[in-house]
Each structure stands twice: as structure tokens, then as C-alpha cells.
Amino acid sequence: MGIITLEKSDHLFWLGRYTERVHTTLKMYLKSSDRMIDSDPNYYAEYCKKIGITNIYGSRENFVKTYPFDESDPNSIISNLNRAYDNAIVMRDYIGTETMAYIQLAIDDIKTAERGDTPLADLMLAIDHILAFWGCVNDLIDDEQIRNIIKLGKGVERIDLYLSLNRCVSDIQKEYRRMKQFLAKSLMRYDESVLYTMDNMLSQYEFDYMNVRNLLRNLFVVSQ
């Protein structure tokens, strides 16, 4: 394809971010649901706080029933997946119909799960299809830059979520190393001084998660 405009790079980047958000939050939702069965029934409140969404749920039951499915809730998993679809559909000529189809299939999975008798188990199909989407990104998209912009978005989102969810330092360092590889190959503009500071912070055994999150948010704020 060869020509990537600012608008298209933006769509690719956010396609990566939203698909990752859906992937990680789906996994977290399944874990949280398990935790709320017996050990910590009100864990959903903490979960909302951690990932920075408003707790509009009021009860465990309501959270379990609506968080993945409610299209009127902008923070729901399906809303994030719809945003991934919005970014994918305008990039059909770059990512291909075959790759795009896995986003559509994941949407269908979530809708089917909502109507089904075993919604939690059925949601695993959505995770499968998100993974298949990434498989297609790797396998079917020839253009290295396109591939790496999507993966960069995915990497940035994953680090952001891991920091929010207080994942261990080694997990974050691993994802940061991967993200940097994508950043270099994506040819996207970024603030080198922010990256330098992040390098220094993340090479430590301990660092302030909030500071790293703020740096991550400023990584792509560069003067034109």
C-alpha cells in the first residue's frame, strides 16, 4: 500500500488500542466475576476504580450483567469493541476484509453471549476472535508499517492497562520492551525526551506507576 496519512495512522493506532482494551478487560472481567462468586463480592467497585471508569453498576449482579454488554455505557466492553470496529471499517483497504471480519465476529460473540444461557463461557469466543484478529494482522498484512502501527497501539494500551491494574514490574518492563520495537518500526513521530525518561524509569526495579502512565500519555504529543 505504501502511503499512510495522519488520519489513517490514527485509525490504525486506535484500532490496536481498542482491540487490546477489549482483550484485557474481557480477561479481567472473567477473573473478576470468578472472584466475586465467593471471595470478594464487591470487587467490581475496586475494578472500576483501578481502570478509571465510573462505577455506575450498584451491585455485583448488575456489573456482571451489563459491563460487557451494555452499548449505552461508553465504558462497556461492547462499546470499546464497537470503537475498534469503527476504526477497522474505514481501514478495510489497508487491513483487508479477512482481518476485519474477526472484529465483526467478536461483536457477534458478545451479542450472542448476552442472549445465551452461559454468557461468561460464551465470552471466551470473543477472546478467541480478538486473538485471531491479531493473528491476521501478523499473517495477512504485508506492509510492515501498517502492522507495526496497530501493534504499537496495542502495546501502548496494554502498558496503560497493566499500570492501572498494578501488574508486576516485570510484566510492565516486558511489554515496554515490546512496545519500543513497534514504535521504531511504525515510523510514527514521538517525543524522544519522554521516551528517554521512560527508559530510565523502567530500567529500575521500582518506579511510580502514575508517573509512567503520565509519561506514556505524553509520548505522542510532539510539536509539528
Binding site: 502511503i3 496519512t5 469503527d86 474505514v90 478495510r92 465483526q104 515510523l187
Partner: protein, 437 residues
């Protein structure tokens, strides 16, 4: 055929999987919906297709000659074949296009000609679509999926492969390209035909754009990449209407057009497919004159028939329309997509007299046609084969030579009492098989 029917749900599921949808606005809200697919194909044998091919080629050649003439020397008016008021009052006649010759002198590169087959076996042209005809992508992807789900059906029937539409389209774009890349200009995600825009971009290798990354400098068009590097554009397959194409020349409030694109086109620096101003040739009033155009430009009798049409503009036709009102279908020439169509016998006494008043007041605004009793095609409705009205949109591509795509979009009405087949009004589509024997 049984295999196709058995696998109908599979095909519809696959169409959903690949995002084969169209958008509609209901109560001001955008909704995407699936375009219902029926597995029973329309079958056209080779002899019949050869006849259609000849007729369609002839018609599109004449329409291209007409456009070249009307924005040039206007001999058809001077020779009294078409009254000039029909040209100048047509909404699609664009004065800025007067005197402008498009690259390679082709105006209608992609023509969508709507036909029906009547019960006397004749094919009738219902209308010509020479601006931004849509629909080819649907049978193209449906065929792909059908071949995957029921390969034996295609092994045992001599169906000409229709999946070359994108290649034909690319050939057309390349032929008129003035030097640079090909792009498909779409109004964006919320356009009814966005699936088609994005799918054809993928299949032709053209770049899909909403125009925000295109600039016009020194009467040339450029596509600007992430780093600000410019790449020249040689052909724009634009899927936006004439009036929105360039706010500097046409509708000044357009936010989806590209400022100065018309100047670049006028200077011959970029090809626009289809050419702006084509609306004058697919005006429902001008339709009446197409057989005369064929005679005038090509010296031939029209191979394909127009539906018997009356122009209330002519006194004699007005008399006929008034005395046969209940048997006719009246069409507002300014409307499209199945809108502005009134069946005389469907009006109440009061509405009828209101309509006749309007007809007398604005005779140029309407045409009247005999209602053609066209063949029903079987569709599958809850597992039962039931007959429904269906038309055929044939796609004719012009790139120096005129080619008819050996397939087409067969649209059908899902309502047993309706003749309206448009997707925006609930219609579905089927594959169109052209047999090689």
C-alpha cells in the same frame, strides 16, 4: 441449486461476517443493516446475455456521445432532436461543465443500467444511472462466498465467473489516469454504500479517502502522507454527488468535497469517474429521448426498449396521461432510490386530484410510464419459494471499449404487493448468473 438453498443461512452469516451492510438513516439516526441475500440466482443464458450486451453497449455508447455533445457543440439540440428546455431545466445539467472535455473523452465510465424482463420476454430499460451507480460489490462478494459454500453447484453449471469486476474497474481507472495514483473518494463511514467503497478500494488497490488528506496545488491533486510527502493523484473514482464534489464550484457549504478539484479536472490534470455533469443524461425526462439519441449518434435502432413513457410536457402526452392516470406510474424526475414514484391507482380521489393539479402546474417535473408486468423471480421466504418483483442493474464499463460485466445486481422486493426493489426500502439482492453456454 438445492445446495445453494440449503446453505442460504450460511451465506447470510458469511455476508454478516465480512461486514456486507448498507447504512440507512431512520428518524435522524444512522443504522447499519445487512442487505438480505436470496440464494436462488437469476439465470441468464449466453444467447440472452449476448443480446443484452449488444443493447447495453449500444445504449452506453450513445449516452457517452450525448454527454460529449451536450457539453460541447450541442448538435442534438440544434438539430431539434431534444428540446433545449429539457436539457437546461434538467437538475443534472451543470453549467460549469460546459466546454470541459474529460480525459480520453469518456464521461460515463461506470454505468448502472436498470432493466426488467416483462412477461412477453422483452427486456425494458427502467432507468440509466450514470452518476454514482452502486451495487456491483454485493454480487461479487456473494459469489465468492457461494463458491466456497457450495463448490459443486459451480462445478456442474457453466457460470461465468463475475469476480473480475474489480479488475475491470481498475482497468478503467488506469486507462483514464493522467499520471499518479488511483483513489476512491467516499463521503465516509456513514454513507449508505460505504461497504462498497471500502471493498472496491481493497480489491482494486486504490486508496480509500474521504478527501481530508487530499490537497489541490497548482491545479494538481495530491495525496499527503503522514510525513507531509505529496503523491500525485491521476484518477479519482468519486462516490460523492456532483453538487458536493467541490465547494469552490458547486455547493459552497459542502464539507465532504475537495476545494479546487474541479479546476484540476478542467485542466485535464486528473480524471474524475464518473465525470461531473452526467446527471443530465440520466435525468428521467431525458430517458424518453435515449432511443432517439441512439438513432442520432449511432445511426442504429435501439436494441433494448424503453418502458413506454409519456412526457406530460407534450400536450398530446398530457392528454393521454390524464385519461389513463390509473393505469400509469408517475415518476418525479428529481427523485431517486424508489422515492417520488406514484402508482396512479394507489391514490385516493382527493390525492389524485391534488396530484393532477401539480402535474399540470409542473409538467416537466414528471414522466408517466405504463406499468410493465415484469417477471417475478422466486425467492426463499421462511423456507418456501415465493414469487417477488425483481429488477436487474447491469454494469457497463467504458475504457475506450465498452464492456458489460457478465453479472449484475438483481434486486427484489420482499413485499409481495410492491414493485419497489431498492435496498433503502427493504429490498434484498440475489446473484446474477450468466451462463457460458
Amino acid at each position: 441449486m438445492d445446495g445453494l438453498i440449503k446453505n442460504a443461512d450460511t451465506i447470510n452469516k458469511l455476508l454478516a461476517r465480512y461486514g456486507v451492510k448498507f447504512g440507512i438513516y431512520k428518524n435522524g439516526e444512522f443504522k447499519e443493516q445487512l442487505f438480505p441475500f436470496d440464494p436462488i440466482p437469476r439465470i441468464i443464458d449466453n444467447k440472452e446475455f449476448s443480446y443484452l450486451e449488444k443493447g447495453l453497449t449500444q445504449r452506453v455508447k450513445a449516452l457517452n456521445c450525448f454527454l460529449s455533445d451536450i457539453y460541447g457543440r450541442k448538435l442534438i439540440i440544434k438539430d431539434g432532436v431534444i428540446p433545449e428546455e429539457f436539457i437546461y431545466s434538467a437538475k443534472g445539467f451543470l453549467p460549469p461543465c460546459d466546454g470541459v472535455t474529460p480525459p480520453k473523452n469518456i464521461y460515463s465510465h461506470i454505468s448502472g443500467i436498470d432493466l426488467v424482463q416483462s412477461k412477453d420476454d422483452n427486456w425494458y430499460i427502467l432507468e440509466d444511472n450514470l452518476r454514482v451507480p452502486s451495487g456491483a460489490s454485493y454480487p461479487m462478494i456473494a459469489r465468492e462466498l457461494q463458491r466456497r459454500s457450495t463448490p459443486d453447484t459451480f462445478l456442474n453449471n457453466s457460470v461465468i465467473d463475475n469476480r473480475n469486476y474489480a479488475d475491470l474497474l481498475k482497468e478503467v481507472m488506469d486507462y483514464v489516469n493522467t499520471g499518479g495514483i488511483n483513489v476512491i473518494l467516499s463521503p465516509g463511514r456513514y454513507n449508505a454504500a460505504f461497504f462498497e467503497h471500502s471493498y472496491l478500494a481493497e480489491r482494486t488497490g486504490a486508496i480509500l479517502t474521504t478527501g481530508s488528506d487530499i490537497v489541490c496545488e497548482n491545479d494538481n491533486l495530491y495525496y499527503i502522507d503522514y510525513n507531509g510527502k505529496k503523491q500525485r493523484i491521476g484518477a479519482v473514482y468519486r462516490r460523492i454527488s456532483d453538487e458536493y464534489l467541490d465547494p469552490m464550484t458547486f455547493y459552497e457549504d459542502s464539507v465532504i468535497g475537495i476545494p479546487h478539484i474541479f479546476e484540476a479536472y478542467k485542466k485535464g490534470n486528473v480524471a474524475l469517474l464518473n465525470a461531473p455533469g452526467n446527471g443530465v443524461a440520466d435525468d428521467k425526462g431525458i430517458y424518453y429521448f435515449v432511443p432517439k439519441m441512439i438513432k442520432y449518434y449511432l445511426g442504429e435502432e435501439s436494441i433494448l426498449l424503453n418502458a413506454p413513457t409519456y412526457l406530460p410536457y407534450y400536450e398530446q402526452d398530457m392528454k393521454y396521461v390524464l385519461s389513463n392516470f390509473d393505469n400509469l406510474v408517475i415518476k418525479d424526475v428529481a427523485e431517486a432510490g424508489g422515492y417520488g414514484v406514484v402508482f396512479g391507482n394507489s391514490l385516493t380521489k382527493e390525492k389524485k386530484s391534488e396530484f393532477i393539479e401539480l402535474l399540470k402546474k409542473e409538467p416537466r417535473r414528471f414522466i408517466a410510464q405504463e406499468v410493465i408486468d415484469f417477471y417475478d423471480l422466486d425467492i426463499l421466504d421462511n423456507g418456501e419459494r415465493v414469487p417477488r418483483k425483481a429488477d436487474l442493474r447491469a454494469f457497463v464499463l467504458s475504457n475506450g471499449e465498452t464492456k458489460v460485466w457478465p453479472s449484475g445486481l438483481t434486486r427484489f422486493s420482499r413485499n409481495p404487493d410492491s414493485f419497489i426493489v431498492n435496498s433503502s426500502q427493504g429490498g434484498g439482492f440475489k446473484d446474477t448468473w450468466v451462463l457460458s453456454r
